[in-house]
């Protein structure tokens, strides 16, 4: 019954759209994706210019959306965990400061915050010719944050040594766990890991012939009062403002999830753990966090999804994300509204479902397994 209703409703909408489009002389199809896009995009992770196809433009937008979401999620998580723990701090000042931060940033609409950070940054940042060098190599200006570019020689050797370090760390961790379970011996896993990840890549420099040099940005004059930096890598202010506002906004919600999670672990648990002689660090790591995580993960997943979807506000400040490039410029130039909006909706749906699936998998992994 429900299936029939759903099919009928969708069928009606499709039919209605078809009839109306036919009446107005608009044809439906995805052929435009292979046509030349003939517009340029400010910032792209893959090689792209107007001579590439609309599909390539779609990929540019998608990658930019993923980039800002990943940066946002990483920083929001770090900041959220710190603030969440700070809110439980016995220190009055830290505690109240964290509470103020949460209440302030989560109660102002995100779009306003994006505008604020973008235009505040534009007003506050210096013109390229007035910029002070950071550590002599990096320049934060109104036209972007110019950082040195890495120039590698024999990068593959460096990469293999790093991979080898990571694999051996995983092996050591597994063995250490086994050792503790069977013989009760504790291994200083953290120290060994840090050592490995430093020493192996270092060796690749010393004996592997890996060379790393930097290309430092240099000031270049375009006109009397118009300058840019040449060379190096430039992070556009649009990306910085967007990532900053998304992180600051979402971190408030994650902080509340973390606080709820930690407070959700019974006091008796901590006291019991302390009474069998665990150090405060071990109490947090072995008793509180494993239980708190189960409470924290599901609502935090929601926040990750929100952040990804909120990144579509990018269009307001010219960050070329999926909505600006594909559902904006490409839609306008082709007039294929139904096709492009459906592709965009489907893309966000897939992104959200992937995040959800990953977080569900992680949640299942850390859930208590009844034996």
């Amino acid at each position: 019954m429900t299936v029939i209703a759903v099919v009928l409703v969708f069928g009606f909408f499709t039919y209605n759209a078809q009839v109306n489009m036919e009446n107005r002389g608009i044809d439906f199809g995805f052929g435009f994706l292979s046509q030349e896009s003939s517009f340029d995009v400010q910032f792209s992770l893959i090689e792209y210019d107007g001579s590439h196809s609309y599909f390539r433009a779609y990929l540019v937008g998608l990658l930019n959306t993923i980039l800002v979401s990943v940066i946002g999620i990483v920083f929001a998580t770090i900041l959220g965990v710190i603030v969440g723990i700070a809110r439980l701090s016995p220190n009055y000042l830290i505690n109240k400061f964290a509470a103020f931060y949460v209440e302030f940033f989560r109660n102002i609409p995100l779009l306003l915050q994006i505008f604020f950070w973008y235009f505040a940054a534009l007003r506050a940042l210096p013109l390229p010719q007035d910029a002070e060098a950071m550590f002599g190599i990096s320049f934060l200006t109104i036209k972007g944050w110019y950082v040195p570019a890495f120039i590698w020689q024999n990068f593959d050797i460096f990469f293999y040594s790093l991979a080898a370090a990571i694999i051996s760390i995983i092996i050591i961790r597994v063995r250490a766990k086994k050792l503790q379970e069977t013989q009760g011996k504790q291994t200083p896993v953290l120290l060994i890991s840090i050592g490995l990840i430093l020493i192996l890549p270092l060796l690749s420099f010393l004996v592997g012939g890996v060379r790393l040099s930097f290309e430092v940005p240099v000031l270049k004059q375009l006109a009397t009062t118009s300058f840019i930096y040449d060379g190096g890598v430039s992070l556009p202010p649009e990306l910085i403002a967007l990532a900053l506002s998304l992180s600051l906004y979402t971190a408030t919600f994650i902080a509340e999830c973390v606080r709820a999670g930690i407070q959700g672990v019974g006091k008796g648990q901590k006291e019991a753990a302390a009474s069998i002689g665990l150090t405060p660090n071990q109490v947090l790591k072995l008793v509180v966090m494993p239980q708190a995580l189960r409470i924290i993960i599901p609502p935090t997943t929601n926040q990750y999804l929100n952040l990804t979807k909120n990144s579509s506000l990018a269009a307001a400040i010219a960050y070329p994300d999926l909505v600006l490039v594909f559902a904006g410029t490409a839609l306008m130039q082709t007039g294929k509204a139904i096709e492009i909006v459906s592709i965009t909706m489907f893309t966000y749906l897939s992104l959200s479902i992937s995040i959800s699936l990953f977080m569900n998998w992680y949640n299942n992994k850390i859930a208590i397994k009844e034996k």
């Binding site: 340029d40 007003r123 649009e238 410029t329 839609l331």
Partner: protein, 346 residues
């Protein structure tokens, strides 16, 4: 008995259906859009989100501008009152979808007439009410006086979803200059970002540059470079498939331009009814049956001239007197050295 009753009712129903069909086919000549507009009592017009001189709302919500006047002219023609217009501000991105989906009936929003827009996306351009071209604005202090001084790495602020983005690429590409396009969704953000120093140049239609310059913190610090890099004929657009409505909008605009050519103004329109020149008499509804083909009365064009004025009056009121572009340039009548030339109303 019941049997006959049933047959009788179906007969009545058939007659009723036939009758509605016949009345429908007579009214169909009047066009569906026209009929809906007259039923609603207002013209649904899509305009910009604020471009001084073309379509801009004051603090009280009154819309003015040469684009706005096209919609007012249509309202005067079909409804008898130039104020019966509902304006919908649209971004460059939304405008065509709003028109093809039937949310508005005229799009009069400084829109460039191009082949792909006319042919591809279910639209019909009815004419040109402003001949424009894309240009560049820079800071005076930069010392740039010509686009030939542009160098690799220049950043250019503009709007998304316009022909501007495409022309800009053609321009920089053909000269082999690498550039950073910074494209915003709304014009206000473009102005704010350029004004703050984010970009070295701001590019859009020259009329738009002149209008947006008035919004800058310090308009005198900026100049529009002399080069024009594209042809931008701006004009009103209607949906494809309603030929009568298309004609009404086209001839409302033509009437305004032709009225200027024959010296008919909002002040002297009534007295022109007794003119000796038959062309003038036709333009004020005193000769011929100029409205019948549209399903309108004979004084539709007189109302346009009386309530909205001729093209020259509209230009002077909105663009010249506001200091945006005092010089009419190509937007002068063909008789006075410009390229405004419309077919005759007869």
């Amino acid at each position: 008995m019941f049997k006959y009753l049933k047959q009788l009712t179906s007969l009545v129903a058939m007659v009723a259906v036939l009758f509605t069909f016949t009345t429908e086919s007579m009214a169909a000549k009047k066009s569906k859009t026209l009929k809906n507009t007259q039923k609603k009592g207002f013209v649904r017009c899509g305009v910009s989100q604020g471009l001084p001189g073309f379509s801009n709302a004051d603090a009280a919500g009154n819309w003015t501008g040469v684009d706005v006047d096209v919609c007012r002219a249509v309202a005067a023609a079909v409804l008898g009152d130039a104020n019966k217009v509902k304006f919908t501000p649209l971004s460059a991105k939304e405008r065509f979808t709003a028109l093809t989906s039937g949310e508005i009936d005229i799009l009069s929003r400084n829109t460039t007439w191009t082949l792909s827009r006319d042919a591809d996306i279910g639209l019909t351009f009815v004419g040109v009410n402003f001949y424009d071209g894309q240009g560049f604005m820079v800071r005076k202090s930069s010392g740039i006086t010509s686009t030939s001084q542009f160098k690799n790495g220049i950043s250019a602020c503009t709007n998304i979803g316009t022909t501007t983005e495409l022309n800009m690429r053609d321009f920089f590409n053909s000269r082999g200059i690498s550039y950073e396009p910074v494209a915003f969704e709304k014009a206000d953000e473009v102005v704010a970002a350029y004004d703050a120093g984010r970009c070295d140049t701001y590019t859009t239609d020259k009329s738009g540059l002149a209008a947006q310059r008035t919004k800058m913190k310090n308009p005198d610090e900026h100049i529009v470079l002399p080069e024009t890099i594209s042809k931008e004929p701006l004009g009103p657009v209607v949906r494809q498939g309603d030929a009568v409505w298309e004609d009404i909008v086209r001839w409302s605009l033509n009437t305004m331009i032709e009225a200027e050519e024959y010296g008919i103004t909002s002040a002297n329109a009534d007295s022109m009814k007794t003119s000796d020149n038959p062309q003038i008499k036709r333009l004020v509804g005193a000769e011929g049956e100029m409205g019948a083909a549209f399903g309108l009365d004979n004084e539709w064009n007189l109302r346009i001239i009386k309530q909205v004025g001729n093209y020259g009056e509209s230009y002077k009121r909105n663009i010249a007197d506001t200091g945006i572009l005092p010089d009419r340039g190509p937007n002068e009548l063909w008789t006075k050295g410009g390229i405004l030339y419309v077919p005759p109303s007869r």
